[in-house]
Symmetry: C2
Subunit: 325 residues, 2 copies
Amino acid sequence: MMTTEIQSLSARINARLESVNYGSTPSTLYEPIRYIMSLGGKRLRPILVLLSYQLFRDDIEEILDQALAVEVFHNFTLMHDDIMDEAPLRRGKATVHEKWDRNTAILSGDVMLVKAYEMLLDAQGDTKTIFQAFNACAAGVCEGQQFDMDFEQTTKVSEDGYLRMIQLKTAVLLGFSLQLGAFMARKEKKTSDALYAMGVDLGIGFQLKDDLLDVYGDQEKFGKQVGGDILANKKTFLLLTALQRASAQQREELEFWMHQTEADPKAKVAAVTALYDQLDIRALTLDKMNEYFGKGLLALQELSVEEQRKRTLKDFIDYLIQREQ
Amino acid sequence: MMTTEIQSLSARINARLESVNYGSTPSTLYEPIRYIMSLGGKRLRPILVLLSYQLFRDDIEEILDQALAVEVFHNFTLMHDDIMDEAPLRRGKATVHEKWDRNTAILSGDVMLVKAYEMLLDAQGDTKTIFQAFNACAAGVCEGQQFDMDFEQTTKVSEDGYLRMIQLKTAVLLGFSLQLGAFMARKEKKTSDALYAMGVDLGIGFQLKDDLLDVYGDQEKFGKQVGGDILANKKTFLLLTALQRASAQQREELEFWMHQTEADPKAKVAAVTALYDQLDIRALTLDKMNEYFGKGLLALQELSVEEQRKRTLKDFIDYLIQREQ
């Protein structure tokens, strides 16, 4: 559970998001932005911006609009990823390319990226430094998405290759979010670098948790279909580790199920999960996840900031580790 | 014909473009960027940046890399527009989504937009001012493309609506190009505003010339298929003006041809062109084009810069007016 304090930050972010004016005409361009932004989500990234800034300063009202930039950027990537994945649903609602059409989703996504830059432009702190970091992050996210798509075409993905992919696709944006808080609090490079590295480690932990929840989550709490990654043959940390550790016979069995695209979904999920269980994949993934979260927590511990100021960020990391959805 | 001086600027731009490092891995992300940038083109936009800067300063070597940012941005829009238009060819070569696939074209385009921001970040002058103007321009271009797509669904497009669409889709980027030169030469707002307005007028003139060439161009010189817009029922200034001025019978005839998607291409082009001729569309479009180019030339005349410094930009505008391809 998020603590009350974090829930309150999340509520402030959601309230502020409702007042953002992305643009009005043509409505076919801007309506999909309002739509995807209204679908909700945990708002983890702007929360991280605020929590990072709060390590140093209290006036978060001043930076609320700029914290939203990372959420707009994140949703731009979702809008385009959903086209590429041909996903019909996003948070239980029709994706933009389904509700409108593909061209609309391409172009609305493009303008969202521009809007993210626009919202970031008013950030306090050094504009060049902020944009340099954001450009590197944005290019990284695109690279990660491309690696992810490339991985679909091959079974030869190493653990390192996978970790590099999720670092780019997911973790660098969490790194940038923490870094941005430090930039806006006008902290020195050493501090913003440390927060970036912390965010990247947390981001990798976060994605490994996601991979885990997809297989071992509690259907009641999870929100998405448990086993979705298995059905889609998604090359998660779990599948790659399983393929790597499997005996010849187990590998054959795994590959058999991967080729079953018309199989009964329940049977496929159960069979692959059973193989994961035999191979101890849950514990191995938890170990890896804890390794990264541990690095993040250690970095927070080492940050020269009064202990009491670290509390909310520490609570948030605990939430990321324990979350069940 | 471009003057020797402008040809030499163009050659410097092309040489510099070859040395740009967009990124390397994954190659599936960056190779399409190198590909589209290598297809050539007139490089009008970076030429405009250099010509604007040269109104005030001589050291164009210093701003060459930043001038390329507008060309990279322009090619990002082409890569995504080609997906939306399902265009098989760009400058006579396969489009990116044809040569690779649609997802690659979406994602490579996304990262190109980020690269344009990256290349602009090193521009001399005030970063915030430059990015504010670029954001407005980039959002405008997306709006223009959306209006253009919306227009495909209706025949009720007014002349004003059309001019607003091409202002956004095409002209604001020419405006930004001239403005950027002034920003980098650290000129005051009055001057950069005047250059922006000049660029927008030239951009509208440029697009009207494009519409004209598509019907009345010399096939030998034009490069593209003359009549391509007619065959695609594209709502150009010519078609909209014709629909507006047509008698009941002429309108019926125009609409008849617009519904002929399987007709002999030559017959359709000849018939529609004959209607344009009856309605004096060529002269009307030329008038409108000259009106905008005239405004641009007047703005150049009124700019308080030594006359001799204006010469190359003046030559370039003359080239835009007279170009046959």
